[in-house]
């Protein structure tokens, strides 16, 4: 793991956030309290796995029972599947307030046994997303540095140097690893803007933290910047489909995301009024790539990638494109992950519980 810059240490996660697998079974864990992302070798013990489905009814009850609390004291924040063993990893917050604790739970795909993954004395690395506050005033985002840092700024006949810190991402909402970089989307608790961070991995000594501002256009008439809630790379990482807090589903090319440029995404769908995007995943079926969008109001929405590439920007008001699956058994899905080549694993809330359900891609 040293090739990825991991060293033995403690991944001190204060708050359970999104998780995503990177190379060599390394799991990225977002900590929204410390505004950090940890990379951890989870040392998954499972054998390489095939294409069998995996289902677990009332996974929240299983996890709560293992953690010694009531299901109401457990919040499953995210879901990831180990790419080799297909064991299931859950980012779990146990308890509330001062008593809250972040736990990484592994569910064995073969026997559904529950364990917690050690985060102490494990190969790990970390990167800080928010910038360290200035020593003299934590509230300031413009600082007048003493040395040569920052940009030169001239007013009148005077030139000063100013250090502007990038947006503070209060809450990481989604992450994905693509081709040597971790992409991180977040919601600020102050300004309303859209930034996607691209953090090279292995993490460098110094954070190379590009802020990429992304806009979307509605119906060719309005343009806004908005926070990305969830996103999924597809097309071998060339393309990104992102969904905003205000529900448009927007396409852009990863190669467009160069620092300092304004990126305008192409709106390809809207999820509809009073709806919220929750998670997205891509999968291949019959030689074609598709995307699934979990959302708070409708069933899963399935979109063929070739339709995205072929579709002009959404210029007229239109309800969701693609093939919305309004069947009851595909409602209540809050998280998605690729289980194997034949199934997508869904975290579904239904009948008062939370369940892991395998969705056969050939049937979607």
């Amino acid at each position: 793991m040293s090739e990825y810059g991991l060293v033995i240490g403690r991944a001190a996660i204060g708050s359970a956030g999104p998780i995503a697998f990177g190379p060599a079974g390394i799991l990225f864990l977002a900590d929204n309290t410390a505004a950090k992302v940890f990379a951890v070798d989870v040392a998954d013990p499972g054998p390489a796995s095939g294409s069998e489905p995996f289902d677990l009814e009332n996974v929240d009850a299983h996890v709560a029972s293992f953690l010694g609390c009531d299901p109401g004291d457990v919040v499953i924040r995210d879901l990831a599947v180990h790419p080799g063993s297909h064991n299931v990893y859950l980012s779990v917050q146990r308890g509330h307030g001062d008593a809250a604790r972040a736990v990484l739970v592994r569910i064995d795909r073969l026997d559904a046994s529950v364990t917690d993954v050690p985060l102490v004395d494990v190969p790990m690395a970390q990167v800080t997303i928010a910038d360290a506050p200035a020593e003299d005033d934590e509230r300031l985002d413009i600082t007048l540095p003493q040395g040569d840092e920052g940009e030169e700024f001239t007013f009148g006949e005077r030139t000063i140097r100013i250090l502007r810190r990038p947006i503070r991402t209060a809450t990481i909402t989604d992450m994905a690893y693509v081709d040597g970089a971790l992409l991180v989307a977040g919601l600020s608790n102050e300004e309303f803007s859209s930034k996607l961070r691209r953090i090279p991995f292995p993490f460098g000594g110094e954070v190379v933290d590009n802020n990429l501002e992304i806009f979307h256009v509605s119906h060719g008439k309005w343009e806004t910047a908005a926070p990305i809630r969830t996103f999924v790379p597809y097309g071998g990482g060339r393309s990104i489909l992102a969904s905003y807090t205000c529900t448009p589903v927007v396409h852009f090319e990863l190669s467009d995301l160069t620092p300092g440029t304004k990126v305008v995404g192409r709106t390809v769908a809207e999820l509809g009024a009073m709806n919220m995007p929750l998670d997205m995943v891509s999968f291949e079926e019959g030689g074609e790539e598709h995307l699934l969008v979990a959302n708070s109001t409708h069933g899963l929405i399935k979109i063929a990638c070739r339709d995205i590439d072929a579709q002009p920007a959404l210029t007229e008001p239109r309800e969701p494109i693609g093939v919305p699956r309004e069947t009851e058994d595909l409602k209540g899905i809050t998280r998605l992950a690729n289980l194997n080549g034949s199934h997508v694993l869904a975290l579904q809330s239904a009948n008062g519980g939370t369940h892991l359900r395998s969705l056969k891609t050939a049937s979607l």
Binding site: A61, H62, A64, S65, F66, L67, G68, C69, D70, V75, R94, G95, H96, G97, D98, A99, R101, V103, D116, D136, R139, L140, D141, I142, L144, F155, G156, R158, I160, R161, I162, R164, I167, A170, T173, S188, N189, E190, E191, F192, S193, V217, S218, G220, K221, W222, E223, T224, T245, C246, T247, P248, K262, E270, G272, A273, M274, M276, P317, E319
Partner: protein, 331 residues
């Protein structure tokens, strides 16, 4: 029957079981957990003639635990819930402006102590002028937005209903109605980090005005220069209320040497002004107010861009994202 009790093992809370044979199995489960579910993670530690169940994750206050020895319930113990006095209160709800624009985007609830997450969706509400809940007005909070010490909660109105052209806006319209008042209500049952409710609920009433779709333009502010050699504040008055949180970090004063003037910043009533009293007396030379262009008004319009931009209006084209300066000279 075994002798079972709450106890301590080393420096950890445990369940102590006496008079157990060496071969007996000991498991602990939350009462809510069915028998086929995994037992609570932990280790069984011999302690003299007793055995202690030391949990991997601390017992949760108020939770009932079943202690099972050799498959038979030996005891049911309730973890006591401390009787916590309600001491935390809502310090303020920002903005303090009495009128907000119809396309109002965000407000802040500031608490006197760190809070627990998971309560915002159910305990922060908008009520219309008749006291009826305004369903769908707020952005659902899958991710609650707290500041670093968990004392300030950021709540967004649903931007899909505010942005022109989106389905949410077309079908359900603005969350607010011009000319109608509404209230932000924080329920007493919002829990602090200790798990205690608030001392009291809180609310703030707002009137709703027209739309605000202009960029924030520092050039239109009025700036009152202080007297030189004094420690009077420099006062900046805005043309409309601005975002309280961003005002806290987007304004700064540079002195004649280009260094930041240290002092005490203060927001004026209704977030319509800002003042800075310096720690040291003003020099009789040129100073600059530096404005970070991310500064927004109550509708999310910033110095560099409007919130939702009508592409046919050239005057709304985004500005270059750079600092704005306003010069003043203490007189």
């Amino acid at each position: 029957m075994a002798d079972v009790s709450w106890s301590r093992c080393g420096d950890t809370d445990c369940i102590r079981v006496g008079r157990l044979t060496g071969q007996a199995t000991l498991q602990v489960r939350a009462e809510s957990a069915a028998a086929h579910l995994p037992p609570m993670a932990g280790t069984v530690v011999p302690d003299g003639e007793d055995r202690c169940f030391v949990p991997r994750f601390a017992f949760v206050d108020g939770t009932t635990y079943r202690v099972v020895v050799d498959g038979v319930t030996a005891a049911v113990l309730v973890r006591p819930r401390p009787d916590l006095p309600a001491t935390t209160e809502v310090l303020e709800i920002r903005p303090t402006a009495t009128e907000v624009p119809r396309n109002f985007l965000r407000f802040y609830v500031c608490f006197s102590a760190p809070m627990a997450d998971g309560y915002a969706a159910a305990h922060v509400r908008l009520l219309d002028h008749a006291g009826e809940p305004m369903a769908g007005a707020l952005l659902p909070t899958e991710h609650e937005l707290w500041d670093g010490d968990r004392r300030r909660l950021t709540v967004l109105l649903d931007p899909a209903r505010i942005k022109r052209g989106l389905v949410g806006h077309r079908e359900t319209g603005y969350p607010l109605r011009s000319g109608a008042s509404f209230r932000v209500v924080v329920d007493r049952d919002f829990r602090d980090a200790r798990g205690a409710p608030l001392r009291a609920g809180a609310d703030r009433r707002y009137e709703v005005g027209g739309d605000e779709r202009r960029r924030v333009e520092p050039e239109g502010w009025s700036l009152s220069a202080p007297r030189s050699h004094s420690r009077e504040p420099v006062v900046v008055r805005f043309d409309r209320p601005l975002d309280a949180a961003l005002l806290g970090r987007c304004l700064q004063v540079a002195g004649p040497d280009g260094r930041r003037i240290a002092g005490t910043p203060e927001l004026g009533p209704e977030e319509r002004s800002w003042r800075l009293a310096p720690e040291e007396a003003w020099a009789p030379a040129a100073h600059q107010l530096l404005v970070d262009p991310v500064l927004e008004d109550l509708a999310g319009n910033s110095v560099s861009r409007v919130f939702d931009r009508d592409l046919s209006r050239r005057e709304d084209d985004p500005e270059v994202d750079q600092l704005v300066t306003l010069a003043f000279r203490p007189h």
